[in-house]
Amino acid sequence: MLDLRLYMAQRISAMVMIPLTVGHLAVIVYAIEGGLTTAEILGRTQGSVFWFLFYGSFVLAVSVHAAIGVRVIAHEWLRMKGAWLSALTWTVCLVLLVMGARAVIAVTWI
């Protein structure tokens, strides 16, 4: 159910997420403490390659990490196996990826 390849994908995505999560929290605190308006935030993020890569890689890591986590829970608690389990893993991954990518594009695209 969880072979070495999936295990490594989940661990590596977790390692990617650690600094990005800290950065994300710092951004939230900064935006709120500084009292930035939506327009001011978008003014800084839109057209920024840095924020596109920051949140783009965050979304990618979350999609991989969460999909594998849900896969384990579905197998152990719902007894899901084989093609159904693979379908669920890919579905969770793609849904998170599409939703996240939409948000990243909305905030960083001009």
């Binding site: 159910m1 969880l2 072979d3 070495l4 295990y7 661990r11 384990v72 197998h75 608690w77």
Partner: protein, 244 residues
């Protein structure tokens, strides 16, 4: 039927793979009485049709493990006084394994997983060669020594919640065995071991909950062995990518 100081109220699971029920017996209580003594008393004095398994009676053979009040125990070395609750004891066949009859679990899946985990010897020399000298102080030998006293009782396998949720998972005993072989200078199958424990039922399914280590009657640490396998397979993952 009530429990008093002179008697134990012992509930025993009776049945086969098809299904079963519990049956309660009143058993005389004695000092230093083990759970296996209790089961033997029932079989000898109350119901000779009760099936159970034991051999050495001294904690060496790993035959007599059962669930006692919901926890896996080696029954020959478990004093009743330690586990009885208000004079009551509930004895069932080992968890996570099919039942043959009454308290006898089918150990086939347990031992098949040993083979699946490459828990077999891969010799470095032939019988014509001289015996390899082993440094007992070497780090690998010291690590291997921590896991070799496994008696195959399957207590860890019954305790493991990951096995309960994932029947393909190799389980703590097989992975502990794989780890001892990986650290054994006399074993030539290190990569074979790593490959065997990297499959879909391999060591990476372990959630490190630690029930195996908590319940191991020989105080081994299968959870640490599995962590060692995770570490070595991860290194091998990067090594192979680099060499590819």
């Amino acid at each position: 039927m009530g429990a008093d100081q002179e008697h134990l109220e012992v509930t025993v699971w009776r049945g086969t793979a098809v299904g079963g029920r519990t049956e309660t017996f009143e058993v005389p209580a004695h000092d230093s009485q083990t759970v296996l003594d209790v089961v033997s008393w029932i079989q000898q004095y109350a119901d000779p049709t009760l099936s159970y398994r034991f051999a050495c009676r001294v904690g060496m053979c790993g035959s007599c493990a059962m669930m006692v009040n919901g926890e896996p125990r080696w029954t020959c070395r478990t004093h009743v006084q330690k586990v009885a609750r208000a004079g009551k004891v509930r004895i069932e066949p080992l968890r996570n394994l099919p039942v043959i009859k009454d308290l006898v679990a089918d150990m086939d899946p347990f031992f098949e997983k040993w083979i699946e985990a490459e828990g077999v010897h891969h010799p470095t020399r032939t019988r014509a060669d001289a015996i390899e000298r082993i440094d007992p102080e070497s780090a690998a030998r010291v690590e291997a020594n921590t896991g070799i006293e496994c008696i195959n009782c399957a207590v860890c396998y019954a305790a493991c919640d990951t096995v309960a949720g994932n029947s393909d998972y190799l389980g703590p005993a097989a992975l502990n065995r794989a780890w001892t072989l990986f650290n054994d200078a006399k074993d030539a199958g290190k990569q074979a071991v790593l490959d065997a424990v990297s499959g879909s039922g391999g060591c990476h399914n372990c959630h490190s909950m630690g029930s195996c280590t908590h319940y191991c009657p020989n105080e081994l640490n299968p959870m640490a062995a599995i962590a060692g396998l995770k570490r070595e397979t991860a290194k091998s993952f990067f090594r192979r990518r680099r060499d590819a």
